[in-house]
């Protein structure tokens, strides 16, 4: 079973999306912000990180940059999941090191398609 780290500060979004990912057959671990994400990747191995971008504390953009600069975590694909949906938001996420971008609210088939593509490439 593929293991996904899901980073999201909004309680309901975290509950909804992690439930749907679990039901889709993934082992999902959730944390609430960028710092906790950095903390947990040092202790566990993940196949994919799905991360909100605008979060208090350490934002998704900053966390993605840090994850990509460390050799231990640089290989884990990151899928940005944001309610900021302008083309500049997408570009900002990709510039920070994310491999792909999807918008909230989640369209499950579309999100699963992107997850499969990233897991296939890793």
């Amino acid at each position: 079973m593929k293991k996904i780290l899901f980073v999201e500060d909004d309680d309901m979004s975290r509950d909804v999306i992690s439930t749907r990912l679990t039901r889709s057959g993934f082992d999902v671990v959730v944390v609430e912000d960028g710092l906790k994400a950095l903390d947990i990747v040092s202790a566990q191995v993940f196949d994919l990180i799905i991360m909100d971008m605008s979060m208090p504390g350490l934002s998704g953009w900053e966390a993605a940059k840090k994850l990509k600069t460390s050799p231990a975590t640089a290989g884990i694909p990151i899928l940005a999941l944001s309610a900021h949906t302008m083309s500049t938001d997408r570009k900002r996420a990709l510039d920070s090191g994310c491999s792909d971008f999807d918008s909230k609210p989640v369209n499950l088939p579309r999100l699963l398609g992107k997850i499969e593509a990233l897991l296939g490439n890793s």
Partner: protein, 404 residues
């Protein structure tokens, strides 16, 4: 000072001279007055019945400088000089604007274009105004107007930016709760179906579809705002037209079945590839076909795609004809207005955001094409979308669309 006020400034506001002499004054005395004040551009002449004429410094000394000029004019009354002038002086009413006064002054013959002019006030008095004072003031007003125009443009850009930022923020703030509404709806739907509680299904589906409707509305508003601010980009790709038609037809087929409509698609298999913005074209077709399926029951909807050559260019012509409820003249007039639906009961009965056709029209324009339609109440509606097979400057992937 705002430019509106600047345009209203009249010659009354200009600095003036009120030196004048009686018409009996001799030329030598006039010459003495000019020599006393070197800045004096002219002197007004008053007769028994008021204003009689004007002596311009330039004209007067030029005349005195002629052969026997001093002999002819210095001992006679100044009227001798006035009567020898080819034309009377320029007299403008006090309400004349600076702009108009400048135009009239500059239209004078070249030999006296630099002469002062006379302003006749409403109370019957007269003033003398230096030509250069007029031109100086006019230049100031023009530069003020220019500064004002720059400031207004900057303010408009700021306001438009603030509006875009507001919409982007609003979109984000609405998407977060919508994530919960749509997501929990879908989770509960799965739960209830797994537990065999079929009774809840329709209401849960309503929650989800209301959420999706709201999402569609937010996306439509953002698209319209992007088009309005010139930020909507066209991304050109080369794609297979039959594949696109198949995909779109597949998406709308369930909608057609829901209203018990016969849906037929006609196109030549060899119609080939097209170079356009594939996503926008799909969105346009889905909007029009979606409408056709909504407003037609137990009828038929036809999609015909043909390739036409016109003026050396190839056009993809998409014709969508339905046998639905149709529209009357006044409904058709407002068809492309955002949020317009033939009447408010339409959105309750048929759904839709009221943004689809407005966006479709804008997209067709952006792609270099046209969208036309014909309709008759009770007979149905036909939309015809004509798009170039390949835009003119298609080497570049991004068409710049700022409309300035």
């Amino acid at each position: 000072m705002s430019s509106t006020i600047s345009r209203d400034v009249t010659v009354e506001a200009l600095p003036y001279f009120d030196q004048h002499v009686r018409d009996t004054t001799v030329g030598a005395e006039v010459a003495r007055l000019f020599e006393q004040d070197h800045l004096l551009p002219g002197i007004m002449v008053m007769g028994e019945n008021g204003f009689r004429g004007m002596v311009s410094r330039n004209q007067f000394f030029q005349r005195l400088g002629r052969l026997f000029g001093i002999e002819v004019y210095s001992t006679r009354p100044i009227t001798a000089f006035l009567d020898s002038l080819p034309a009377p002086p320029l007299v403008l009413p006090g309400r004349t604007t600076i702009q108009n006064a400048a135009i009239v002054c500059l239209a004078r013959p070249v030999e006296n274009v630099y002469d002062p002019f006379v302003v006749a006030l409403a109370d019957g008095t007269h003033r003398l105004v230096d030509f250069l004072a007029l031109i100086l003031r006019q230049t100031e007003l023009l530069s003020e107007a220019q500064i004002e125009a720059h400031a207004q443009k900057a303010a408009a850009i700021t306001a438009s930016k603030a509006k875009s930022e507001f919409l982007a923020k609003m979109s984000h703030e609405l998407r977060t709760p919508l994530t919960a509404i749509i997501g929990y709806g879908e989770i509960l739907l799965e739960d209830s179906e797994a537990a065999g509680q079929k009774a809840m299904t329709p209401r849960l589906r309503n929650i989800i579809s209301a959420g999706l409707h709201l999402l569609e509305m937010i996306n439509g508003i953002l698209d319209l705002s992007k088009i309005e601010s010139g930020k909507m980009e066209v991304f050109l790709e080369t794609f297979s037209l039959p594949a696109l038609i198949d995909e779109v037809s597949g998406t709308v087929a369930p909608l057609m079945q829901r209203n018990n409509n016969v849906f037929d698609v006609f196109f030549q298999q060899d119609i080939g590839t097209m170079r356009s913005d594939e996503l926008k074209l799909k969105q346009c077709l889905l909007n029009i076909l979606g409408n056709a399926s909504k407003f037609t029951q137990n009828g038929r909807v036809d999609l015909r795609v043909t390739k036409e050559s016109d003026q050396g260019a190839d056009w993809a012509v998409f014709q969508i004809a339905d046998t639905g409820i149709g529209m009357n003249e006044s409904q058709m007039k407002k068809l492309f207005e955002p949020f317009y639906q033939a009447d408010t009961s339409i959105s309750r009965r048929y759904g839709g955001t009221g943004l689809g056709l407005s966006l479709t029209k804008q997209f067709c324009d952006m792609l270099g094409g046209t969208l036309s339609y014909k309709s008759e109440i009770g007979q149905g509606t036909t939309f015809i979308m004509r798009l170039p097979f390949s835009p003119k400057n298609s080497d570049d992937n991004l068409l710049s669309l700022s409309q300035n």
